[in-house]
Subunit: 122 residues, 2 copies
């Protein structure tokens, strides 16, 4: 399986999932499965991912200064969308975005079990 299959598996495993992506910390997506047309249609997922990558990069720098260890996981909840991100390597991370009413525990779990599978394909 390639990235895409894992991304599709993540999106299909969680009710209310809107998008899954493998992103570089430079803000460039390797691959994205975006089914937001089915739901939270007015949020521009691609632009959001770039903005969040920027935030995640800053967090990594902050974590270094704070000596709090590497950033492993990030979750950002807004009124329209909850976005989970999980570091894969020093260069890439995986993202799963879900509707606010989705089961966040399930989404976190699905992202966690798929992360090593995606990492193995990098």
């Amino acid at each position: 399986m390639g990235f895409r299959e894992h991304l599709e598996e993540m999106v299909h495993s969680v009710d209310g999932a809107v998008a899954a992506s493998v992103m570089g910390f430079d803000g460039i997506a390797i691959d994205t499965v975006d089914v937001s047309a089915n739901g939270t249609g007015d949020v521009d997922i691609q632009t959001m991912l770039v903005e969040y990558t920027n935030i995640l990069s800053q967090l990594r720098q902050a974590a270094e200064v704070l000596e709090s260890g590497k950033v492993t996981e990030l979750s950002i909840g807004t009124e329209k969308l909850t976005t989970l991100a999980r570091a894969l390597t020093d260069e890439y991370f995986a993202v799963l975005a879900v509707a606010p009413e989705a089961n966040l525990g399930k989404a976190r779990y699905v992202l966690r079990i798929n992360a090593p599978k995606i990492k193995a394909e990098l």
Copy 2:
């Protein structure tokens, strides 16, 4: 009850909780219960909260641009600490920091049920 009681209640309700705080988006804490001396002692909680406030403020700006609705919740996981933040008003937010091995679902729940109580005291 004042802020402090709610913050103490949060810290005592979650095994592995390290600190709880009510912060302004300007990075100034109203009150903080910090029991990190018991555990994750080498992370400077106060400095971390200021750094994370900065990140949260940027997220709020990004959310406005992205039209994804207000930022309601943020969770940042590092190797040494997981920090949950929840918006209370446009000026203040509540924070609960826990050890990585703590029950994150419980921490999220405790923060969620205490947030309106803290808000009522603002």
